[in-house]
Symmetry: C2
Subunit: 713 residues, 2 copies
């Protein structure tokens, strides 16, 4: 009877019709079978049963072992066929050569999912990769999903579901809570959950995807986003293998206002190599993953502590879209440190209104009422000052987030009275984010958390976490982005087009180049130059020479007809020397643009996320400073303008220090159109380089001066 | 008798003849008097006595209180005059109006130092500042030093000396150890020591300087550097008020191979303001303080955790000058994260030698032997593999630092055996830095620390601390810098010199300008231009117009004699319009340099540290990207070249991506000469701007094109 009830609960309350509900049998099953179940609770195939028995899993639990009638006190079944019901999920820890056929048996029986601990697949060698691919294909043919292989599994302490052989429970069971973890690495997933547990943070659901032969970390994020028992999602990833699942998951989480904090490793080249050898991961370009995270308001944590700080703070579910920080303290000192950190992360700490400052100064003459607000040791004489000061901050200062810095004061005899005053303000204004930086023993910390405060020992970590809440709020509150521009169908030629062809293709999508003409004779070039106006630029025109400047195939400042004639001769000569077999179609004569800001617009096809747009300023900005921004295609002009404004060199375009502002609107429109063009061009498009693009002074447009399109055969 | 012994110990073993030994009576006194001592051990003037009694201070301890014959069990004396001996130090907590005369009485009695808790001085208002200045002058007349006023005092747990009213001891006494803390803020000093104590880190000596009316944080650092009981110095500063003491202290610490880690707040403008209001500090320019820290190899910590991580790791006293990191683990995953952090901080993680990799692969076929080195779960079957693998890393890989990432493994049953294997390697190669990233309970942590491992829970924090040890090692091992160039005496004119005068002054110091001539008539300009060679630059010449380009007073690309004539007319006209009362001396005609890289060299006088040199690339690099480097003057060409190479845009000078390298040697020589010039010019020099300087292609020198020298009246 109890078991029946539990089944109803499991199946009914969770994830009825979401996009990711197909993972429910895997991640929240009603019944579990364990293939090759061991009687020894310390062995890999014994641990899941031991854990589930110890914690009281309420669903069906079926050991399968032909050599035993009983395993750890449960009836054992000789084969899959003998099971009294079809389990939702089966745990497989048998050796690789037995695992693959077992998957087929399980699928035939109608089992919906497998958690596969077994190693020796794609992480080992090419043969292992092939075996893994076949096994997954077999399972998919029956609609069965596989977590792993070579994974540490999944656990959900709330359901006492432990399809994992992690030994981390030797040192304690998870703290129940509303943070869900999805990790590609098993070692790091349990590392993180253990850190959370030791800090008393409730992260009790953890999925570890291992080789990702089938189920990806993206899908797991999506399932957590749809899970009503999860409010905050913490992710550890080494390389994203599949885009649609991840994108849908990030959309789902954003729509559900569930913050995601992600530790994405493999940022360094060194890191990239290690990732490859360790998880057989095709490490996607880190910058691309970062762009996707930014697109959906995912916060990137620098380390596990920051990840837990942010995840834990997010469980309060207060995400101020226009975040401001007010700091209250009863001793100075840390105020400077807090201001430093706030400025470095970009969190606003506006001053208190002048009249409110005046009022507070009337109460305590030597207080610091600006922000940080220091009520001074005067509160020893009158503790109600803490409430008066904090209340004024929330009411008059209007701060969306309040940080109380009390350090060791929170361990003193004065603290209970101060806490009472602080709680009174909190009760009056419950919509703010309340955080404390205090040094207290764990039990006092838990009291304060129960009061509704988020407790961080270190004030700088507190500021970083508070700032993250504002960024979530801004992402959740952002209006829907503009649609990408509509561009006509793109018919890519079979091979890389010439510059002129490339520009013609781009022009059809509304991407303007500098006025120019393709000329197959020197006389035609003279006539074209006269029409366009001197000075002009001359470039060699050949489908076989893509990087013209490298062979001296570009002439600048060509000033008159004589120079055009001479230039034609020089270009033909150079082309012949550098590339004797190249087809030469003549020269391109173009207007030389002056007074614009040099930019680079580019597209490259990421193997996982498809066409990615890049924007940067020309020359050293891209080459030496790597001051560029990326975005998944396509996007509208609003996003394009955000990209342009986000680079460090943006002031150069926006009119810093007396410069004339460039035509950023035209530049943004061009970038958006390029993103739409890249999608319209289809998967044969390998890359586009518009380098340079001149952003002319405001109102005068933006023009591509060179265009290179690379096409896959 | 016991007291006598203690006196001998106190006075003899510490700080005999160092530069900072004058602070010994203050920071390690043989005897202490407490003015206005209270019988109530919870009152400010009662606490020091209560603490010293509780912890067993071995020197003389003399309460002074005219109203009592006994205080907390000690004989009390009515006045200073009644004391049986002259105490080294007196603690003063009486109100400000009584404190100042008391200081004179104490000085007359021969007391060598005062710890003054009393507030109401410079931190309050101008009158308070004046009272503070007078009090300090009175004390100095007698050779007496004052810590504070408005300070939280000093404690040294090793000597049971507690001249502080901090309530932080309510929650426990310091852990004895070899980290000394010097802090301008009392609140933050005790915050830091409390964090250290809670982590079991020995930081038992802490000086807090408050208003710094007399004793500065710099002097305290120096005293800690000379103290044989201190190995590592942790500093918290808001603004440096005095340079010579700090510089001498940093030199002393470096010579003694004692690492300093410093948290310097006030980095942000916001922070700067808060610092001012809170400690009446004249916040020195943060960039200048950072340059001074870099000069002496001081590490800057971003927060208290990083400060303690670094300080604690440094207590092992292993500072590898050419640091390399080898990582050993028995499960993958964190390797990528560790590689990411190592790359971001610049810590080398070279691969294991190929033959060593081969050998390890022979032992465990699927191990990852590169670095990070993963011995895999195979160690469950043969734990000696841990020793074999780690030994190979230390012996064959030659890593100077070894990080073991064992996370939860360190809480498992396998751990004692693994620990034994690791310790065996450690014993064999004791000269390396050994660090563990593990999740363990405090008692296990203490065991590992006793074994000689540094334990960090978080691997990223471990990497940052390991990297810091290498930076200390490099600073300690650095050869002495070259002497600054010798320049002739500089005779600054009474007011700001013209550009031509400025260039002449600089030329005497060997700082070259572009060929040029000052011309007081248009005809002279034509002749000069012909001699210099076209094109030339023309600039207005006036002692009253410093920033010429702002009034259109600079003409570029002047191509021939006609243009010179016309240019002369235009410049005179513009000067007359923009500055009708300016004295106009004519124009400067100069060679227009082409093909150089535009740089800015500057000097500005910092109120604390004197002349500071700045180097950056021209234009947007300085204005928008703030890509500049600072250094205290003077310095030699080696330091100048390090500065030039340290900026982000340096590749532009060094010949990145096919560029011709610039004459960095000549540029460095110019920068070093400028630094020597700035010192030779004396305190009336306010600033110098050489903007632009053209660094010509290698072998062709560097030339200042404009020079502005500002002089204080």
């Amino acid at each position: 009877m109890q078991r029946e009830m539990s089944k109803i609960m499991s199946s009914a309350t969770i994830l009825a019709g979401g996009r990711f509900s197909g993972l429910t049998p895997l991640l929240a099953p009603r019944s579990v079978a364990v293939l090759g179940a061991s009687s020894d609770p310390t062995r890999i195939s014994g641990r899941p049963i031991a854990y589930m028995l110890a914690q009281g899993f309420q669903g069906g639990l079926y050991p399968i072992n032909p050599n035993r009638t009983e395993v750890q006190g449960l009836k054992a079944y000789p084969t899959i066929a003998d099971l009294p019901e079809t389990p939702d999920v089966a745990i497989v820890a048998v050796p690789a050569e037995v695992a693959a056929p077992a998957v087929v048996d399980l699928a035939k029986r109608g089992v919906k999912a497998v958690v596969m601990f077994t190693a020796g697949f794609a992480e080992m060698d090419a043969a292992g990769a092939a075996a893994q691919a076949k096994m997954v294909a077999d399972a998919r043919a029956y609609g069965m999903r596989i977590l792993g292989p070579n994974c540490l599994g999944v656990f959900d302490a709330r359901r006492a579901y432990y399809a994992t052989f992690s030994s981390s429970f030797d040192s304690g069971w998870p703290v129940l809570g509303r943070i869900g973890i999805a990790s590609q690495s098993g070692a790091y997933g349990t590392h993180l959950y253990t850190l959370a547990r030791n800090r008393g943070i409730g992260a009790s659901l953890c999925v570890m995807t291992g080789n990702e032969g089938d189920v990806t970390v993206g899908e797991c994020i999506g399932w957590l986003a749809e899970n009503p028992e999860v409010d905050v999602i913490a992710v550890y990833a080494e390389g994203i293998r599949e885009a649609p699942g991840l994108i849908a998951a990030l959309q789902t989480a954003k729509a559900a206002r569930k913050p995601i904090v992600m530790q994405k490793v493999g940022r360094s080249e060194l890191g990239g190599k290690a990732a490859k050898s360790h998880t057989a991961s095709i490490a996607g370009d880190d910058a691309v993953t970062e762009a996707v995270m930014a697109e959906f308001g995912v916060m990137r944590a620098r380390n596990s502590e920051e990840m837990l700080d942010i995840a834990h703070t997010a469980t309060r579910k207060i995400y101020p879209a226009r975040n401001t920080l007010g700091v209250i303290t009863v001793s100075g000192g840390a105020g400077v440190l807090i201001s430093d950190v706030a400025e470095s992360v970009g969190l606003a700490m506006p001053e208190m209104p002048p009249d409110a400052q005046e009022t507070l100064r009337g109460l305590v003459p030597f207080c610091a009422p600006r922000n940080p607000v220091d009520a001074t040791a005067q509160v020893s004489n009158d503790v109600t000052l803490v409430k008066t000061f904090t209340e004024s901050m929330v009411r008059d200062g209007g701060y969306r987030s309040v940080l109380g810095f009390f350090s060791m004061t929170a361990s003193s005899r004065r603290w209970p009275a101060i806490r009472e005053q602080l709680n009174a303000v909190k009760a009056e204004y419950p919509d703010r984010l309340y955080v404390l930086s205090v040094i207290v023993p764990p039990e006092r910390r838990q009291e304060l958390e129960a009061d509704g405060w988020v407790v961080h020992e270190d004030p700088t970590r507190a500021v970083v976490a508070i700032d993250a809440m504002g960024r979530y709020g801004a992402a959740f509150a952002a209006p829907p982005a503009l649609p990408a521009p509509v561009v006509p169908a793109v018919a890519l030629p079979p091979a890389a087009p010439t510059e002129a062809e490339a520009k013609r293709l781009l022009a059809e999508a509304g991407i303007a180049s500098a006025p120019e003409a393709a000329c197959s004779t020197a006389d035609a070039a003279v006539i074209a130059a006269g029409r366009i106006g001197f000075p002009v630029v001359m470039k060699i025109l050949s489908p076989d020479i893509l990087h013209k400047s490298e062979i001296g195939g570009v002439l600048l400042d060509v000033a008159d007809s004589g120079a055009v004639l001479e230039g034609y001769r020089v270009l033909m000569e150079r082309a012949k020397q550098a590339a004797p077999h190249a087809r030469i179609e003549g020269v391109l004569v173009a207007k030389q643009l002056k007074g614009g800001v040099e930019c680079i617009l580019g597209i490259h096809r990421d193997p996982v996320f498809g066409p990615i747009a890049m924007f940067g300023l020309g020359g050293i900005f891209v080459e030496i400073l790597h001051d560029v921004v990326f975005r998944r295609c396509p996007f509208g002009a609003d996003v394009a303008e955000q990209m342009i404004r986000s680079i460090k060199g943006a002031p150069l375009l926006l009119g810093a220090r007396g410069r004339h502002p460039a035509d950023v609107k035209a530049l943004a429109e061009m970038l958006a159109r390029l993103s739409a063009f890249a999608v319209a061009a289809g998967p044969r498009l390998a890359s586009i380089d518009l380098n340079p693009v001149f952003a002319m002074p405001e109102g005068h447009g933006a023009f591509a001066v060179d265009a290179v399109i690379e096409v896959d055969a």
